[in-house]
């Protein structure tokens, strides 16, 4: 009887997990991995980091859904990339596009990518990370003195100024140090 109860318990646990598994592709690969996947997947690619990081923080693909990256990486769109020309040669374009689309938020099992997707409406494709409800919510306690008027930060776009491990895809509150302010704790 005990064995039956124990097996049925495991079945109950599995059933409880089912909605979560249905909500994601590659669930069992993720489940069997021991890798820490709490933040956003970091990109260890020289071309990506050099090309994107030349002008701004090399935002990880997991910060936006695939539909957003498709719009942003379009060759026509790159001619006017938020006011700048960010055209790429064909080979580099293909390389970066592949990374962006393969590792976009809706293709990622990293927790913050999931949170980003959960906060977006279906088929939503924001062009700015700052338009994502989850990102807005996470920064809503900050005022202009922390960012805009802070000479060491200046802009919300400079993730790594405050998120000390941003380049590794870690955006935990524990890793936040706002220049000119004491340890951040909301």
């Amino acid at each position: 009887m005990n064995k039956i109860n124990q097996i049925s318990s495991l079945v109950i646990c599995t059933v409880l997990m089912t909605p979560y598994s249905y909500a994601s592709d590659g669930f069992f690969d993720w489940m069997s991995s021991t890798k820490r996947m709490k933040g956003i997947e970091a990109i260890d690619d020289k071309v990506y980091n050099e090309e994107c990081g030349a002008c701004h923080f090399a935002y990880q693909p997991g910060l936006l859904p695939q539909a957003s990256w498709k719009k942003l990486i379009d060759p026509k769109a790159l001619e006017d990339h938020f006011g700048d020309n960010a055209e790429l040669d064909a080979e580099t374009h293909k390389h970066i596009e592949t990374i962006l689309l393969d590792k976009a938020a809706d293709k990622s099992h990293y927790k913050r990518s999931r949170k980003i997707m959960a906060s977006l409406d279906k088929d939503s494709a924001p062009l700015r990370i700052s338009e994502i409800p989850y990102i807005i919510e996470k920064h809503d306690e900050l005022s202009s003195k922390h960012i805009k008027d802070n000479p060491q930060v200046k802009s919300l776009s400079a993730c790594a100024k405050c998120h000390q491990n941003a380049e590794q895809g870690e955006f935990d509150e524990d890793n936040v140090r706002i220049p000119g302010f004491k340890q951040w704790d909301d």
């Binding site: 005990n2 109860n5 124990q6 049925s8 318990s9 495991l10 109950i12 646990c13 409880l16 997990m17 979560y20 249905y22 909500a23 489940m31 820490r36 996947m37 709490k38 990081g53 002008c55 701004h56 923080f57 935002y59 910060l63 936006l64 942003l72 938020f82 006011g83 700048d84 960010a86 927790k111 999931r114 949170k115 997707m117 959960a118 906060s119 062009l127 700015r128 700052s130 338009e131 990102i135 919510e137 202009s144 805009k148 200046k154 802009s155 919300l156 776009s157 400079a158 993730c159 790594a160 100024k161 000390q164 491990n165 941003a166 380049e167 935990d172 524990d174 220049p179 340890q183 704790d185």
Partner: protein, 146 residues
């Protein structure tokens, strides 16, 4: 130009976006870390509870087995409480099943309830069932946000 809406144009001249604090060391003891330690601790103690020798039938409430079980339940309760206090804002009704923090909270609470039920039911023959449900749920809760 950054994708995050900027109040000031940054890096048009190639200014580095790298961290300003190269000596940064992640703190070991923060509210988030305590929550993590409570959850991991409860799972470790629940596992140990299953491994250590069971108490004699004459005196089922003494010995390392019930002590570890009680400790696991206390740490599980502390994990749930600290999660509600420090991470309540991470829970949301929107796209409920897609929010990993919702599942983390539900499974963590179920895990702790499993521990408590096992203790309440002991030394009855069914109490290991509750303990297993508790430990598996706690493991799943941790994995979801690991």
């Amino acid at each position: 130009m950054p994708l995050l809406q900027s109040a000031t144009v940054l890096n048009a001249t190639g200014e580095s976006t790298s961290s300003v604090d190269t000596a940064f060391k992640e703190p070991w003891f923060t509210a988030n870390k305590w929550h993590q330690y409570f959850g991991l601790g409860s799972l470790a103690l629940a596992t140990l509870t299953a491994i250590v020798p069971k108490p004699s039938e004459d005196d089922p409430e003494t010995g390392i087995h019930p002590t570890l079980a009680n400790s696991a339940a206390i740490l599980g309760g502390a994990a749930v409480a600290s999660g509600l206090v420090f991470h309540y804002e991470d829970l949301s009704w929107k796209n409920f099943t897609k929010n990993p923090d919702n599942w983390h909270a539900l499974l963590g609470a179920l895990g702790t309830l499993g521990y408590v039920a096992a203790i309440a039911d002991a030394p009855d023959g069914n109490h290991p069932t509750y303990g297993i449900v508790g430990a598996v749920s706690m493991l799943a809760a941790i994995k979801i946000t690991w």
